[in-house]
Symmetry: C2
Subunit: 125 residues, 2 copies
DNA sequence: AGCCGATATGTTTTATTTTGCATATCCATT
DNA sequence: AATGGATATGCAAAATAAAACATATCGGCT
């Protein structure tokens, strides 16, 4: 998750993401969006095309995240009429939902702090 | 600024930074630490060596940030007995201080939300 | 059995960052 | 005036990351 706040010509950004022990990105803005798009499209390929990112990378990222998380986020099948498809697992859906909630809560909380920060900056000048 | 929180084997990271209009990083974790080290060492060279980053990059980053911010963060002098030195300007010090304060405030606020997030995750499982 | 379209991967290119190297400049001190 | 050590900066090299390309595989359908 990431957002921007403006203070005159200086902007304030923040970002939140889930990682493994080594700090490697598992689920942040990008994958969050990707998973949501997969849910809608029912296909990884369609999702990446919609978003405009490379299939190769998206596929690798998901694989990596699943490996580190220890459970599947996406249920992938190959072959068949449409060539295959990708659907979110129950755990994947739950994860997205929790993250979604966290997203809102976090943004609200941070905005408050930022307002205070702006006041501080003004005073100090 | 960045921090970590643990949920079993999943960690939560967040990061905050200041940027210009184009989103280019002006002051984040790296420069924040660097400036603080410059204050202690009284030298850019010494600071980079202490932290373990390249002088070339650090110097360039500071120059870039100063240009975009529109004021000096560091007062640099060349020549003399020690070859030169680098000290924080008043504005630089104030900036670090405000950022510092924001840092603490932000961390406190975020921690609260994270606790809630963990609870949500637990419930949902 | 053969086709089609998506998943699954290895390999190669391209782009972006970071580091490293070389060199010039500055100036209190010797 | 010669020296030394830090700042200042261009440029080449190396390391990382992202994108592109090329295939192989799978399985319901015709």
């Amino acid at each position: 998750m990431s957002k921007t706040n403006t203070y005159s010509n200086i902007h304030l950004h923040y970002k939140v993401w889930l990682s493994d022990k080594k700090g490697e990105n598992l689920l942040g803005d990008g994958k969050w969006q990707l998973l949501k798009e997969i849910e809608q499209q029912g296909s990884l390929k369609a999702a990446t095309e919609k978003i405009g990112i490379s299939y190769r990378k998206a596929w690798g990222d998901i694989k990596f995240a699943e490996q580190r998380l220890g459970f599947q986020l996406v249920n992938k099948t190959r072959g068949g009429r449409d060539g295959g498809n990708s659907l979110l697992t129950e755990e994947g859906k739950r994860f997205i939902l929790a993250y979604d909630e966290f997203h809102r809560e976090f943004a609200r909380s941070v905005d408050k702090v930022i307002i205070k920060f702006k006041r501080t900056l003004k005073k100090k000048r």
